[in-house]
Structures are given as structure tokens and as C-alpha cells.
Symmetry: C2
Subunit: 406 residues, 2 copies
């Protein structure tokens, strides 16, 4: 049979995102994405875990959900119960936890359970691009709250909630990344967590706590999770193993009260999240997580030092940033004349990939001269060279940083 090529275009519904471009390979100096430090991957431990768990109970892979049902591998949920208690102060049971295919599926399930087109939510003004884009796609209005060194400004949050109330709008949630905020690297103070909970209760607006970077606080000491501090149960908490172990293992989790968990579970029609990855993580983490993470943090902190030194060396005063409290990224302010969305393509042509700030903020003007630089994946040498190359492109395109070096 032969015929003119079938044309799918007339069948596509309105509102689809633009077509994806073909992938052209990894960039030489990649400062984007949540990629992690390959040298810190606990490969021997993961291999030993894979062997042990498969040998012991590998045949359960023949069953959807193993022998654990739709909320995920029981041993992984049991590890999380212990970890969340120790690290985040959360008291929960395995029944309060839903293992997801990365915390991105957590975002999708929370959104699908609570949001309809035309709804309003509150988020941090500078915020994870994936969260912003999801809201845009869903036709949901995101009201951004500015941040300072202690995270979301709760005075501004109170004002926004009052303003919305006057307009008869009840936001569906307050979304926050309180512990190593993306992209600012700030940590919401305990006092602000208390105030946020008070506002949540007063206004009947739940808090959606995205804790996926919270293992990477340099000091090893984090405030209790908002979920743990809540007396009213109106908090949904999500987390991930992407930053603590490996992002290509797509394993995250949701902690939530059953009345909302049971609705999310009804929407999780994926036949379960990948079981082998859950099994290997559970087996590895139960014995090694608390030893692995501090070593990972030390490696990341060293790369951050390299990045900050490189920026100081090549950009000088033109690059402003706060030393983040943890994480894998630095939020950098360039002079007002620089538009980082216009820097993106020339930088890419020079082999340097960056995240333009306007894509990581609901206030495009605020984000315009900012950028996010992820430092976990490139080597120290690549960080040095990449920042030098970026400075050269930026100078050529925008005249900053000024030529000061000989």
C-alpha cells in the first residue's frame, strides 16, 4: 500500500505545547537540569543492593505492585517512614506514603487532584520551572510571593491571601520549596513555617510542600518539615531520591492525609511506579543512606566553591549571588542590561547551557537578568572552563563583564 503521508495536524486539539525538537546530544558545559555528581553515585552499593534484593525476592516482579499494592514497595515506604521521622520530624506510617515516578509525578497527581482550569494557586515568585510550566498548561493562575534570605516572605503571603479573599478567590494551595528553595537556595525559617501554617488554617488553603532538595543542606541540619509542624493536617509533602541518589532512577514520593491520598491514588493509573528501582533503593538506603548523603554533600559543596570562585574570577562584581544553604544550583544576578533569555542561544553555541531566569520566575522582569547555574554534574575543570566561556559570550553580547583581566 502506498499513499500520501498521513497528516496528523488536523487531528491535534487546541492548546498542545509546541513540538519537541530532536535531541542533539549533551552539551559540553551543562549548567542546567537536576543532574547529579557522577563521581558521588554510590555505584558499588547500588550493585550490591540490586543483587541482594533480586536474589531474595526478584520473582515478585511478575506481579504489578510486587506484593505491596498500589502505594509502592513496602520496604521503601518503611525506609521513608524512618528517614522522614529522623530527618524531617514527620510522624507517619507506610499507608500515608505513595511512591511516585519521580517527584514530577507527585506534582502531577497533586495538581490533578486539586486543580481545575481557572483556579488560582500561590507559589514562590522565583520557582521551579517545571512547577510553573505545569500551572500554565493547566490554565491555573499562579500568584507569586517574593523571597528573601529566609525564603518566602510571609508578610507578603498574608497580604496576597487577604487580597484574594476580597476578590472572592480561595487559592487551591500554597506551593513552597521551603528547604533549599529552587532556584534561590534559601531555607524558610521555623518562624515563617509557623506563620505559613497559621495563614493556611485561617484561610483554608492547604500547603503543598516540595522537599526534594532537603537532603542537601550543607550543615546537615534542616528545620522540621512543614508537614511535621502542622496541627491541622492540611499539608501535602513530596520528596525524591533524584538529588540524594540518582535522577535517572525515577523515584519520588508523596506524604498526605488519606482523604486526599485516596483521591490521588485513584488518579494514579500507571500500573505502579518502576519496581526494580524501588527495590534497589530500599535495599541500598536502609543500610547506607545516612552515610552516603554527607559524603555527597561534601562533594557538592566543593563544586559550589569552584563555581563561586569561577564567577568571581570571570564576572567579578557583574555576577551577584548569595551563598546558598545547600542544593545543586546557584541563582545569579547579572547587570540589568543582560537579558539571559537572549544570552541562552549564543551561550549554547559556545557549548554552555544555562537556565534563563525568566523561566524560573513568575515575575519575568525580575528574572530577566538572572540565571540558574547547576553545578552538580560538571567537573571542577568543566565549571572553570564553562564559566570562562560564558563570561566571554556575555561580554560579546552585552558588554559585561567588562574586560578587566590581562
Amino acid at each position: 500500500m502506498s499513499a500520501a503521508p498521513f497528516d496528523f495536524a488536523p487531528l491535534l486539539p487546541a492548546g498542545l505545547p509546541p513540538a519537541a525538537a530532536r535531541w542533539t546530544g549533551r552539551v559540553k558545559f551543562d549548567f542546567t537540569g537536576g543532574n547529579n555528581d557522577a563521581d558521588s553515585l554510590p555505584l558499588d552499593g547500588l550493585m550490591a543492593a540490586a543483587d541482594a534484593v533480586l536474589r531474595r525476592e526478584g520473582r515478585t516482579l511478575s506481579t504489578y505492585g510486587l506484593d505491596s499494592g498500589p502505594q509502592g514497595y513496602r520496604a521503601l515506604r518503611e525506609f521513608l517512614v524512618a528517614k522522614l521521622k529522623t530527618d524531617a520530624g514527620i510522624a507517619c506510617t507506610p499507608d500515608d506514603i505513595l511512591v511516585t515516578s519521580g517527584s514530577l509525578q507527585g506534582l502531577d497527581l497533586v495538581n490533578a487532584t486539586l486543580l481545575a482550569r481557572g483556579d488560582t494557586v500561590i507559589i514562590e515568585q522565583d520557582c521551579y520551572q517545571g512547577s510553573i510550566n505545569r500551572l500554565t498548561r493547566l490554565g491555573v493562575t499562579a500568584v507569586g510571593i517574593p523571597l528573601d534570605r529566609d525564603g518566602m516572605r510571609v508578610g507578603a503571603l498574608a497580604t496576597a491571601l487577604d487580597d484574594l479573599k476580597r476578590k472572592g478567590i480561595r487559592p487551591k494551595y500554597i506551593y513552597t520549596i521551603p528547604t533549599v528553595q529552587n532556584p534561590t537556595g534559601t531555607i524558610l525559617s521555623v518562624e515563617r513555617r509557623q506563620e505559613m501554617l497559621r495563614l493556611s488554617a485561617t484561610h483554608g488553603v492547604p500547603i503543598f510542600e516540595d522537599d526534594c532538595y532537603s537532603d542537601l543542606v550543607w550543615s546537615g541540619k534542616r528545620p522540621p518539615a512543614i508537614y511535621a509542624m502542622s496541627g491541622h493536617g492540611g499539608v501535602i509533602h513530596i520528596g525524591s531520591f533524584s538529588k540524594s541518589i540518582a535522577p535517572a532512577l525515577r523515584v519520588g514520593f508523596i506524604v498526605a492525609p488519606w482523604d486526599v491520598m485516596s483521591r490521588m491514588l485513584a488518579l494514579k493509573t500507571d500500573g505502579g511506579s518502576g519496581a526494580l528501582e524501588q527495590m534497589v533503593l530500599a535495599e541500598y538506603c536502609a543500610r547506607n543512606f545516612s552515610r552516603h548523603v554527607p559524603a555527597l554533600r561534601r562533594g557538592l559543596r566543593a563544586k559550589l566553591e569552584t563555581l563561586m570562585e569561577s564567577l568571581n574570577e570571570h564576572f567579578g562584581a557583574a555576577a551577584e549571588f548569595e551563598d546558598p544553604k545547600g542544593g545543586i544550583f546557584l541563582w545569579v544576578k547579572l547587570p540589568d542590561g543582560v537579558d539571559t533569555e537572549k544570552l541562552y542561544q549564543p551561550a549554547l553555541a559556545a557549548g554552555v547551557a544555562i537556565n534563563p531566569g525568566a523561566q524560573w520566575s513568575v515575575d519575568k522582569a525580575h528574572g530577566r537578568s538572572r540565571l540558574r547555574l547547576c553545578f552538580a554534574s560538571p567537573s571542577h575543570e568543566e565549571i572553570h572552563q564553562g564559566v570562562a566561556a560564558l563570561a566571554e559570550v556575555c561580554r560579546r553580547e552585552f558588554g559585561v563583564p567588562a574586560q578587566t583581566k590581562g
Copy 2:
């Protein structure tokens, strides 16, 4: 802080599915779901594959998408290119393949790319529950085409397409499971595949070919995929490793022309599908797939024999069925007086889980006295005992099968 428990109910949008029930453990005689034969799981091979692939390239887990980009692990796509050529006659390249988190994500991506509320699609009258439920949730009308021993009746398909055309309706796709249809176990003949393609071209309606059971044809000989036979490119093909290797490994794939692939890829915002499972499958399958699958089929065929014998023994003429061409399920007709949705709960109370036919058909009256029995997961002994227990419950509730044994 303490307060009345937060009430999420006022925040839930209209149209959510009912809350999920808490999982209460596996059923003693489970004839539901696509669970596979645990004894046929190639555990040693998977363990060896995990060890080899992690040792060789495990550190790539630190990067989203490994070194392969958003369409999935390159080595797995290369295996699929070879397998699809040999088994299904499909000529494609790794760029034509998108690895998904099970074929269920394939269903979701195809639906999200092509469907809007109010649309119409054509499907087989008796059909996979997960496909029917997705369409219901999306507010899409599913026009069911009856089947016979050679699969979808293409005369009825032609009539339906003409009827819709007269009403000014262009269906978004023709969904078919042509090679071991779920639940009927039929195989669409080559002549019907040709006629379906002709109708597709004439009416400008693409074919959505779900081939996830096609490895399990008893004879080992399957017709070429509709995708392979198409001269116009208007076919989207999906498949899975759930039935050939293990369902808890959530790995499926889509084969599609780039103009629609690029739209699906833009909607796949999950950070990639689980990489460890892709790596292990690629490593295992490249060496062992063609040897493993015939052994698996022999084991499944033996269980089917046990199931048919047990039905003949305990139900006699009350249970009518065709010997399926392959797969893991049997589609059984009970006497008209039996309502299998009403049989479900008493059977469950007796430790027997079944799929009521009305949930596997868009014609509820047609499905009413039918049920689907999956035979891959229970042991031969469990099949015997489970069918005996089911017959006893059915006799008590509906008076059939008549008491004939001694």
C-alpha cells in the same frame, strides 16, 4: 499547633474518580490483572544483566535520560529496532521510538496528543478496561466495533465510519489490539489489516495499534504489525515488556512518525522513564529475548490448558469460550442469567478475583454474563482450586452450573 482536621473536600474539582479503597492484600485465587508467571521470570538473566550494565555504565544514572536524551535508553531502542523488524516487520530507527513507563503511559501520551473532550474514537467492542476507562475519564465517545474469531469485523468498521461521516464526525483514531486481542484472544487477519488500513486512508482516521500481547502467540508466528503494513504512515504503535518479561518493570514504548512523536515528546514531562529498568532490559533482551519468550509461551499455554480443563470440569457446558491464539487471559461466556458484576463480590469473599465482562466491553449488555480470567499468575493448583471455588459461588448465587458432579 492544633486545630480541626483540614477538610480537602471543598477544594476537589468536579469529575474526579471515586476515592481509592485501602489495599487489603493479594487475593488467594487471583484471575485478574496482567500479572505474569513468576516461575517463568528469567531471574538469573536479569541479575546478570543488572550487574553487567551497572558495572559498565552505571554512573550515567547521575544524568536524567542517561546519555540517551528524552526518548529513552539508546541500547533499548536499538534492541527494539531489531526485534520489531524480526517479529513485526516494522522498519524503523531509534529516533522513531519513545520508551515509556509501561504501555499505559503510551496510552496516556497518545490520548493527550490527539483527544479533546467531546471527541469520538473507534475501538473494539470488547476491549481492555484501562483503555475504556481512560476514554470515559477524558469525556471521549467510544464507538465499539464487534469482533469475531478473526478480530475486529471490518465490515462493521466500514459501516461505523460511514455513519459517523454522515453525522459530520471524524473519529480521532481506530484503536485496536490486533495481535492477541484483550479480552477475546483473537488475532486480526492480514486481509482485515489491509482493509483497516484502506479505511483509515479513505477516512483520514489514524490507527492506534496496541501490540502489547503480540509476543505471546502460541504458534510463535504473528502477522506483520499494522504499522509495518501501512503505506501512509498513519499508524501509532505501542508495545510493552510487561507481558514478555515482567509487569512490575514499567517499560513500554511507542513507535510513531516524527510529526506526532514530537508532540507526544513535548507532553512527556516526567524527567524520563525509569533508567535502571531500561538498562537491565536492554542488556538482558539483546542476548536472551528470543530464547526466553518461547519458553514463557510454553508455560503459559500449559496454564491455559489447566484453566480450560478446570472450567470444563466444574462449569461444564455453562462456560463457553474459544481457545485463544495466545496471551494470558480467557474470555468466558456464562449463561445469560449470570451477571458477572454481581458475581464479583461473593467470589471475592470466597477468595476468587475475576474481571466482570461489563468492565471489558463498551456494550454492557454483551459483557454482562461474560468474564475475563487471567491464568498466567496463579499456579496450576490454584487454577484448579480457584475455578472450583468460583463454580461453587456461581451455583449458589445464580443456580449455574447445575450440580452434576458427585
